[in-house]
Structures are given as structure tokens and as C-alpha cells.
């Protein structure tokens, strides 16, 4: 049984009752809230930042998850800023939320999925002119190049503050991105070369 389901079970949801699936956005939100209180909008911004190269999340999943997790007692609303009429809801992680995060981190199950349309086009592109495939590689190469530059800046900044355990973890994640993107670049050059032969 997966860790989250196990926790739901411990918390009293019996076998017969309809149980929520493992909603992955929950742990992303909990992971971010473990560091600081955030609004739904803040969460989206953070997901679109350093996290974006290995995980995605839309408003359409974040807001419903937040209100659902509030009902479950994993997060709680902080008092709204009364000085301004502006609606702004800060969320805070609870003890139960921290426990859920801990259970997930210690669960050995992890799904790692890649969905690369570029590779789909490569795989099915044998019927088209080679220039089409080469163009698709070039577009991919540009995307990768841009991402690589951003990740290298992240890395440089993190290298200065590696003494904190959290920063070491961010650093290793970023390093993963750099290593793989560099492998992509290498492959792009190789593939273009082969396709330009003959």
C-alpha cells in the first residue's frame, strides 16, 4: 500500500469507503509550505521557477487542492491582511501536513515520467523529409539551451550557500537538470550530424 493511502487509512478512512487517489500536487504544495507560508498564486510562481524542469502544476489543480487540504487539516488559512481590500489567502502547513510530507518522503515508491513530444516526432518522423526532423531537433536544442543557462545561474547562487541542508538538496536537483540538459545537447549534435550524412 502506498504511503499516502496508508496515512489515509490510519486517519480512519476504511477499506469500503471511496478513497482519494494519490494526488501528487498535494506533496508539492506541502513541500513548499514547509519552508514558508504562501498564497496559491505564490505556489504557482514557485512551481514555475526552479521546480518547473522536473514538475508542473496549474491553477486548476492548485486551488482545488488547497481548499481540499484545508478540509483535511493538512494546511490552514492565515488571517487575511485587513489593511487592504485585496483578497489574498496565505496558507500555513499544519502538524498533520508535516507528517504527510514525511510519510511521502520515506515512501520508496516514486513515478518518473517523461513526455517528450520532440521524441515522438523523432520516432514517427521517418516518412517526412530529413529537414523536418533536423528543424525539430534545432527547436528542441534552443529550448534546452535556454533552460541550461537558467539552471547554471541557479547553481552558481546555490554554491555559495551549500552549508544549509536544504540548499544542498536544491543544488543536487539543479545539478541533475544541468547534467541531463548537457546530455541532450550532446545528443542533438550527434543526431543532426547523422541526419545530414549521405
Amino acid at each position: 500500500m502506498a504511503a499516502l493511502r496508508m496515512l489515509y487509512h490510519i486517519n480512519g478512512l476504511g477499506e469500503g469507503k471511496k478513497m482519494a487517489k494519490d494526488r501528487k500536487i498535494d506533496v508539492v504544495i506541502l513541500g513548499l509550505l514547509a519552508h514558508e507560508d504562501l498564497t496559491g498564486y505564490d505556489i504557482k510562481k514557485q512551481i514555475d521557477g526552479a521546480i518547473s524542469f522536473f514538475w508542473k502544476g496549474s491553477f486548476g489543480s492548485i486551488y482545488p487542492a488547497l481548499s481540499d487540504m484545508e478540509k483535511q487539516g493538512l494546511v490552514k488559512r492565515k488571517k487575511a491582511d485587513v489593511t487592504s481590500g485585496r483578497e489574498k489567502i496565505f496558507y500555513q502547513i499544519t502538524k498533520k501536513g508535516k507528517d504527510t510530507l514525511k510519510v511521502w518522503l520515506n515512501d520508496e515508491k516514486a513515478t518518473n515520467d517523461l513526455k517528450y513530444e520532440t521524441l515522438l516526432k523523432m520516432y514517427f518522423g521517418g516518412s517526412e523529409d530529413r529537414s523536418v526532423t533536423i528543424r525539430n531537433i534545432e527547436i528542441f536544442e534552443e529550448q534546452v539551451k535556454g533552460n541550461l543557462e537558467v539552471l547554471k545561474i541557479y547553481k552558481e547562487n546555490l554554491e555559495k550557500i551549500l552549508d544549509q541542508e536544504d540548499h544542498l538538496h536544491f543544488y543536487l536537483t539543479v545539478t541533475f537538470g544541468i547534467e541531463t540538459y548537457e546530455a541532450y545537447m550532446k545528443w542533438c549534435n550527434m543526431a543532426k550530424k547523422i541526419l545530414k550524412e549521405k
Copy 2:
């Protein structure tokens, strides 16, 4: 405007009418049917094969897509095998289906998404004991090692038949997988080493 939407537009779906989103499973199915006639079950098996490391697809998306694409005239049913009582529906790509595939291949837009729970655990794992993170890396390493072995066998077999354009494309896709998985292995060793320091 995305290529598929463009084609839908050309085919008479006006602006006001509710239009289907870009359903990616369609082009996966069309790409496979471009090579040979297949049943829904066959399609699932192919997706779980060489394609699986860069794309996924479940029965719950394949079967509804097939019947919808039949209505759109992108694929058509082949006569069922009458000798056996066994229900088995072979699908064949149509001229319109081939055109749709071609438009997609020539469309420069491509989304490339990674969803790695392992990296999510790495990123948020700073609060746990290092042994937890190391264990998560080891599990990932085992998965990668297994996939790498399978891809290397694919590569060896494809190297013998590179004269066919399709096989060259399969070969380049597989090579991408090998290069990235090897980068992953390199990163795993580096990350474990750093986490075991101090």
C-alpha cells in the same frame, strides 16, 4: 494556431463551436497505424515497448480516442476475423489520418514535460535524514539501470537495419534514451558521494 486545431478548422469546425483540445494520444495512435494495422490492445503494447521511456498511454485514453477518430474519419475499422468468435477490432489509418500526422510532424510546437517524483523528493528532502535521500537515489538508480539495459538491446538490434529511414529514426530515439540514462547514472554516483561526505 496549433497545427491540429488548424486542420480541424480547415475541416469545417468553426470558431464559435466547442473545439476539442490537442489530444496527444491521437498522433501516437496515428503514428503507430502508419506502419501497420493494429487493435487497441496492440497499440497499448507498442506504447509500453520502445515508446514507453518518452511517452505513456492507458486503455482509458486509447479506446475512446479510437472510436472518436473513427467518427472523424482519421482511422477505419477493418473487417473482423469471422473464423473465431473472439472480438478483435483492427484499425487502419485513412488518407485524412495520414494528413493529420503530416501536419503534426511539420508543426514546430512541441511540449516536453518531465515529471520526476524522485527529484521532487530530492528537492524537498532536506528535512529528513540523509539516508532517506540516499535510499531514494538508489531506487532510482536501479530503475534507470534496468531501462538502460533494455534500451541497449533495442540499439544493438536497430544498428543492423539502419538502412531503412524509419529504423534510423527509432535508433536516434533510443540513443537519446541511452545518453540521458547514462547521465542519470553519473549524477546518482555524484549525488550519493556528496551526501555521504561529512
